[in-house]
């Protein structure tokens, strides 16, 4: 059913007071990483915005992204936003099946032509269309058909954004991302394996609030959530800066909460919001639980050379590392020396791991 009710009116008609609405908007403003003083402006926008139609397609994936979203506890802000959109077609949540489901898709596309949001979960196999089909139609055909009249596309998860696990070497299905196929629509990539539920709803909320898609980085991800690296915002960063690293998962350093860099943490090269937004209703996040970041929101993270191998150090970090090494009491001349430089640069290019000893040589 298509309703013309605005979000503000919907909440108020559900018995939520103006004060409650301000609470909702304060939380939403926080979720959108806007300055807290904007809560009142957000409230004003939301009072006017009407609910958008959303069509959600599943291709080669594990449905973990939908699970991430729907497993968030109701009635959180995520669920309020999720309830508010008009989710006209979602293959795994739809009660209808067969022809009735096909009709729901057709009706939504027809009624909201040019205006609906298309959410895609999963990668698209190009090696053989038969590798993944829905109702006898290949993922490629369905994507091209539904994308044609969409206002914009949201690629949810690392599979839809970058190919993800199906695209991992040797990529037997020829899996590609949405943006490898669709070139004439705005596409927003919400990467992560799975993405943080608040980030999915945050993007929907941004669209609801401002009626435009948020600003994107060079990989098509919303800057609000992906501008910083995990490392930029990690609470263990002061230990990294002092050169205090855990060397194994149960040594003194690990017990003292030191940096997990040498245990393979990919935080320095991973853009995501886990360090601030956290997981499970802000309970914790992987690094706080004692495990390094795997880099799940970056392209080809499965082929990154091993989750427990220390990251290759990007060439541009050489100066920084020298500074950190000084702070850590290492020999500065050795760290900054050029003798080993070509090996480091080579390793970076090939994305091989180099040891801390290589740096100290």
């Amino acid at each position: 059913m298509i309703t013309q009710e605005t979000l503000g009116k919907t909440l108020i008609s559900h018995g939520v007071s103006r004060r409650g609405f301000i609470k909702f908007c304060s939380t939403l403003t926080s979720m959108l990483a806007l300055h807290p003083s904007m809560a009142i402006q957000v409230a004003k926008s939301l009072e006017k915005i009407q609910r958008p139609s959303v069509i959600w397609l599943h291709f080669q994936e594990c449905t973990g992204c939908s699970e991430s979203l729907t497993r968030s506890h109701a009635p959180t802000i995520e669920s309020l936003i999720f309830d508010y959109i008009s989710l006209d077609y979602h293959e795994t949540l739809l009660a209808a099946a067969g022809d009735a489901a096909e009709k729901a898709l057709h009706d939504a596309m027809h009624a909201h032509k040019g205006k609906y949001l298309l959410v895609v979960e999963g990668s698209i196999p190009l090696a053989n269309p038969g590798f993944s089909t829905v109702g006898g139609k290949s993922n490629l055909d369905v994507l091209q058909h539904v994308a044609k009249d969409a206002a914009a596309i949201i690629a949810v998860g690392s599979c839809a954004s970058f190919g993800g696990l199906p695209n991992a070497d040797p990529n037997p299905t020829g899996a590609v991302s949405v943006s490898d196929i669709i070139k004439d629509k705005p596409i927003i990539n919400i990467s992560g394996c799975p993405p943080i539920p608040v980030v999915i709803t945050g993007v929907l909320a941004h669209y609801l609030t401002f009626n435009v898609l948020p600003e994107l980085d060079e990989l098509g991800r919303p800057k609000t959530f992906y501008a910083d690296t995990i490392h930029d915002r990690c609470y263990r960063r002061p230990f990294y800066d002092k050169g205090l690293f855990a060397e194994s998962f149960d040594d003194e350093g690990a017990k003292k909460g030191w940096c997990l860099y040498r245990l393979g943490c990919k935080g320095p090269t991973t853009h995501n919001a886990c360090a601030t937004v956290k997981w499970n209703d802000q309970t914790s996040w992987p690094v706080e639980a004692g495990h390094g970041c795997l880099g799940c929101s970056e392209p080809r993270f499965w082929d990154g050379g091993g989750f427990y191998k220390a990251l290759s150090i990007p060439g541009s970090d050489v100066k920084k590392m020298a500074g950190y090494a000084v702070a850590a009491g290492l020999a500065a001349g050795a760290v900054g020396g050029m003798a080993n430089r070509s090996k480091k640069v080579d390793a970076v290019k090939k994305h091989e791991t180099i040891s801390v000893e290589d740096w100290e040589e």
Binding site: V16, S17, R18, R19, G20, I22, K23, F24, S26, T27, T29, S30, M31, A33, H35, P36, S37, I40, H73, P75, T76, I77, R233, C234, Y235, R237, P238, F239, K255, K256, G257, A275, T276, V277, D281, Q282, T283, S284, E288, G290
Partner: protein, 139 residues
């Protein structure tokens, strides 16, 4: 120490997060102080969104502990509960919003005379007035 029973997994508690010179907490306290300067000089309010700051859970708890609780404590029941209190530092308020499952949905430190959300809202006042009229009519 008594040996662990066969069917019991021994739990060894460790202090996994000792001080890291309180760098993160210290920077927030400095921001609060700058907010207090502005509040007393120009009356302008400042809000710190704790959800946007990379603090570990234990650091957040330590921050609340250091700020303490002052004279005013407000409890609100709407879309879950909200706890609002002035800290030991006048003009520094903690605002914690929880959803209906008592999970934190957002947390702020507000440097102001009183957080906006506490004030009665004009539309709610209008509704209250007509409700009160109904009461007067029927009494």
């Amino acid at each position: 120490m008594a040996p662990a029973k066969d069917n019991v997994i021994p739990i060894k508690r460790i202090d996994s997060h000792p001080s890291q010179d309180n760098i993160n907490i210290r920077s927030i306290l400095i921001e609060i102080q700058a907010g207090l300067d502005n509040l007393s000089e120009s009356g302008s309010r400042h809000i710190i969104d704790l959800g946007a700051i990379p603090l570990a859970g234990y650091e957040r708890e330590k921050l609340f502990e250091l700020l303490g609780q002052g004279e005013v404590h407000i409890h609100m029941s709407l879309l879950g509960t909200s706890e609002i209190y002035e800290t030991l530092f006048s003009g520094v308020w903690v605002v914690k919003h929880r959803d209906e499952l008592e999970e934190f949905s957002s947390m702020f430190i507000e440097i102001c005379h009183i957080p906006d959300i506490v004030l009665s809202q004009p539309d709610d006042i209008v509704t209250a007035n007509s409700k009160l009229q109904g009461l007067i009519n029927n009494i």
